[in-house]
Amino acid sequence: MTRVTQRLCALLALISLVACGDDPIPVTPPTFNRPGAVAFLCYDQEARQVVPRSACLEGDAGENPNLRLTALVTQTAQGEIAAIDLQFGVALDADVRVPGFTHVRVGEIPSGIVVPPSEPGFTYVANFGSRTLQWIPSARFRPEAMVSDATGSFVGLPAAPLGLAMSDDEQYLFSSLPEEGAVLIAALDASGAISSVSQQALDGTHDAPRVTVGDGYGRTCPADVSLAEPPAVSAREDVALGDVAQPGNLVVDGDVLLVADESLPVIHRFAITGGTLTPLPALSPGVPVRDLVVSPEVPREQGGDELTRFLYAIDATDGSVLVMDYEEGSPTFGAALSVAVGGSAPDRLDLVGAARALSIITPGFPGEECSFDSDQERGPAVLRGAFLSVAMQSGALFVVDIYDLDSSCRGGAMCEDELVYQRRHRRRVGASAGFNTNVVGTPAFRFEGNPGRIGNDGVSSGDSPGLVQLSACPRGMKRVFPVVDGDPVICAVQDPWAVRAQRWLSVYEGALPGTSGGLGRFEGREFIAPRANFCARGVLGSANVQASELNAAEPEAGYAGDMLIITSDVPDDAPTGCEIFALDDSGTRADPIAIPIAVATGDTLTLGEPIGDRTLGQVVACFPELLGYEIRTQGVYTVVGSRTGFVHRVVEDPGSSACLVDRSGRPSVPACAADGTCGECGTDADCDSGSPICDAGRCVECTSARNVCDSACGENGRCIELRSGRAKVGEPFQSAELAFTIAPFSAPPALGVNSELEFDVGDTPASLALDVGSLPEAAQYSEEDQNLYIVDIHGDSLVQVALSPLTVAERFD
């Protein structure tokens, strides 16, 4: 029997077995292929026709079971549109006469789709690949629909269209033409066919970007929780990714068309007047943007009459999300808002990672404010109001608070029910109770390899120096150790959006992360390491500290400079006498070669004499070749967070390339003129006396972090620098996230002493988040069923997200 015959027999046997089975395995062919945009239509099953979308509004649909909300999803790889019956949860076979599952064929690479809400006879599709705009009878997507004599067609375009939007009067379509730097305007005739197309060119004219501080709308329970205020920051300098306009996402907002520009730092605005787009003053986000959405008008304060609204956009340079004041008539209309606290950029939403798609979700909005009398379910996962949903590159979905109709009732009238942390433009906190940021477990303090634990009084159980009890935590911080009672030993920032769960490691004379290398070499007293980028890693020499002209209150003041440590072995052909520098059998040196740094520049270190009884000349003679090295701090602890890293404020001076301490974030303290304007700036030592400081051209009191950019104000008005990763022995250490004091050694430590403090800050509030897939491509909220739909381009699916409570309801693929 040949192999072929054997296989045929095996195949026949297999077929026979399958034929005998009671439960044949249903074959579900893959139906999605690189899905992109999504649109909705409402289908009346009884009348067998597509009807206005409002008919499918929740409530109406519940009363009429014949109404079927249907999602249309572009399949970009195949040039098709898939239709999903959202009530039945099934994909619709476009042509049952064709074997297998089929979708409606359109042009190549469909990039946008629109179904007019009121006159849904035709569905419009922009085809990026075949450079066409086409219209298809919407009934075509429901195979059982009554056959009509409507036929579709297409118009050829001079360039590839990207995205599609429709005017509110359903008379015009708009699409971006990135290659032309223009917006396409397509006029529809009475039958719904496209009758003409024209273009509106874009230019990059815009004002300088502005930034203002976002409002403090929100609710906290307990009410006395100290929340950090977003700082007043300067607007970023414009960043462009190209020289000419590249229109991207379009949003029709009433009679205004907004066009994202993926190349220039502009959001174009046009008044829609008939078939004409009249340019309006553009918005200046400071960066090119990808996706953008506009919120509805919401009360500025809970239940108030004054309204406000916001525009959110994805920064095309890094995927972060910015927010702008978009209330017409507001004095800060068009200004970006400073909204974030903690380590993230103040003028961006704090979202951890890059965003892919935005959508405004408005379940129950507009609607009645909550009432304590109501037994309506409330909680962080129940969404009733206006929110921003952000689908992230990582597949996560975050919800950002804009206006919560239930806000004033959450936690109870006297905050007796639950912990509530809620703030506009911040990630919605996902838990209602159970979080209370603390040190998890007991801090460990190892000394010369001997383990030790820190007691509630800060004293170590081992030989290590231990920590010093503090009289109180700095403003804005809370005690995180000891957890239960007693004077604080370790404090952490209290604001739930500023604190991060992470491991903190403080190593005496520890290495600066990212400073090890293998390409260093000596040239006289200099050590050259190409591309080492010492300043960016935070390296400081003693002369760099002096040159920075620090005042005594600043953390780097008086610092002796970092040390160069040689990590490689002596070369085989090194001169006689170099054996003293050889590595031992374990590949280490009991007596490190540590050379203090006098001057650090981008890739060069000017060195002092080595610590100990060696000379620099000896070292240089014994290491004539390229060698391995790292940089360690000297006489201080190197504090590194597992997520924050080593925080510093060292920059490279553009002129001299020397590493200098960046003092630009410190407040300028003026002698205030009689009229209240800023006079000559003094030094920030003046702040110690409680003098007003100069902030954004105004004299204000130094009362909060908002006044002092990257620094904080101490209780006495003294300005505290928070960008610090070197903890001095026996002196208070404070960064943006932590405060503690490491006790002095009982005896002067030897070079290479091993002294390490390690603890975990945890139990931090978790954000309300959902895993919606692998790579979200688009997000679309449906008013009709009040669900959010996420297109997962990598998972080849459409994800239905229910909003009360927030959960993945179904995946269609």
Binding site: G107, I109, R131, G518, L775
Partner: protein, 479 residues
């Protein structure tokens, strides 16, 4: 998250069947049986290819892996692209799948084919190498080909006559079998310095030592990656009869290494890993003081973690290829990932984490990416080509904005991709059907240039298949 794919070409360990085959081969060789020589001029599981260096390439060099070990050798072949271009003109009334060009010296696989192949003198030269070639690179002068052979664990050098495309590697007569002198592995000099070539080489890249600031007359470097997380450096001084010398190897890199590319700004090699969510980077230290090239060494320049994308879990990752934007003012890497199946646009300035600026979804089983400029309206348009082995298609993506410009379906096992702007084509090495396909980009480029659709039929802008070198030989049982 989709389940991991059952098969992946580049990270497949040498299979058990191979070990068994080796055992059998060994047994038979003891009896004096050398196995079956590959038939002359036949493509056999091609895995890698390179184009000759002319502006309009005259030759394509194809490495055949002999993946199913049907024969006792792999091979490298030269095909004449000018002859192929002329032959394709005869296919105007043929379906692209029927546009099969074979050399007259190669017997047809199917004498009763419905549409007989077109015979043309496309085959220029052929040499036999070891099995499992997994990467080929042309030296900067175009006079040498380097390929890594996984079965032998060596770097094989093939001399090329750029004028004729003729290959030679020490053999005499036909078939031309590469001799030991052209297979560089461990050598005595390296062994004296305690340097050994790690096993399982998977990719190779070469360049001039001028990339590291040395003189053009000092020769070329050849950089080899090994699947087990090692990299090796060879230097070829390019003198008459010279062979690459193993200079150094470094380990401790990411596991399951797949491919390598050189990033000229930082002078570092970037290595993709099929096992972990990180890219390794390796530098070459050439000591400016001693001026001794043989004292050069490789060093681990640190990993770039792949984060902020859904790789399944924190410890797994799978990147398959990387290329760098050649434009001086665009500091960007394009990293091809299988977890998720996407092309990452990454900024070069990141450290620690791969600084992903954009994620562009591609098809299933993405395997190779390449970038090249094509002229559109007199201006260069930079296009990225991504072969997707499992969805059996080719993606064309705009390098400036990440937008998909077109897909080419109907491929069988697309792997290596070689753009040919002079002919507005791209050549796709098809592993599964053992052919080299040509894809015509002219319609897509014409659409990009703004020629509007006209008439009642919607214009087709997608790239289209033209024809192929070699007769398709579908493989059912392997894949």
């Amino acid at each position: 998250m989709r389940p991991p794919r059952p098969f992946s070409l580049a990270t497949t360990p040498l299979p058990r069947t191979f070990a068994a085959a080796l055992l059998v081969l060994g047994t038979f060789s003891a009896c004096g049986n050398d196995g079956v020589r590959p038939p002359e001029g036949r493509l056999n599981f091609p895995t890698a290819a390179a184009l000759s260096l002319e502006a309009s390439p005259r030759f394509i060099y194809v490495a055949n892996s002999n993946f199913d070990l049907r024969y006792n050798k792999g091979s490298i072949q030269t095909y004449n692209l000018e002859v192929f271009a002329d032959a394709v003109l005869e296919c105007t009334d043929r379906d692209p799948e029927d546009c099969v060009i074979i050399d007259p010296s190669v017997p047809s696989l199917d004498a009763d084919a419905r549409v007989p192949p077109i015979e043309a003198n496309v085959l220029v030269s052929e040499v036999l190498t070891g099995s499992y070639a997994d990467g080929v690179t042309l030296s900067p002068s175009g006079a040498r080909l380097y390929t890594v052979i996984r079965s032998d664990g060596n770097l094989t050098t093939v001399d090329v006559d750029p004028a004729t495309g003729a290959l030679s590697c020490g053999g005499e007569g036909q078939p031309h079998i590469c001799t030991e002198a052209f297979r560089a592995g461990d050598d005595d000099a390296a062994a004296l310095r305690d340097i050994n070539l790690p096993p399982d080489p998977v990719d190779v890249v070469s360049g001039s030592l001028t990339d590291f600031g040395r003189g053009a007359d000092e020769g070329d470097y050849v950089f080899v990656t090994h699947r087990g997380g090692q990299a090796s450096l060879f230097i070829d001084d390019n003198t008459e009869g010279s062979r690459p010398t193993l200079i150094h190897s470094v380990g401790g890199l990411a596991p399951e290494l797949v491919s390598v590319a050189f990033e000229p700004r930082s002078q570092l090699f970037w290595l993709t890993s099929g096992g972990e969510p990180r890219l390794s980077r390796v530098g070459v230290a050439i000591d400016g003081l001693t001026q001794d090239l043989e004292r050069s060494f490789l060093f681990n320049a640190g990993d770039l973690r792949v984060s902020d994308v859904d790789t399944g879990d924190a410890s797994t990752g799978d990147t398959r290829d990387v290329v760098f934007d050649p434009r001086e003012d665009v500091e960007r890497a394009y990293v091809l990932s299988r977890r998720p199946e996407a092309l990452f646009f990454a900024n070069l300035r990141g450290s620690g984490d791969l600084d992903i600026a954009q994620v562009v979804e591609v098809g299933d089983g993405p395997s190779r990416v390449t970038i090249h400029d094509f002229e559109v309206d007199g201006e260069p348009r930079w296009l990225l080509f991504v072969s997707c082995f499992e969805s059996r298609d080719l993606y064309v993506i705009d390098a400036d904005n990440g937008r998909l410009l077109g897909t080419v379906g109907g491929l069988s096992g697309p792997f290596e991709v070689l753009p040919d702007p002079s002919r507005e084509r791209v050549y796709v090495v098809d592993f599964r059907s053992s052919v080299v396909r040509a894809v015509d980009l002219s319609a897509m480029l014409a659409c990009i240039s703004g020629e509007p659709s006209s008439g009642e039929l919607m214009r087709e802008c997608a790239p289209r298949l033209l024809g192929m070198i070699g007769q398709p030989r579908p493989v059912m049982e392997l894949l």
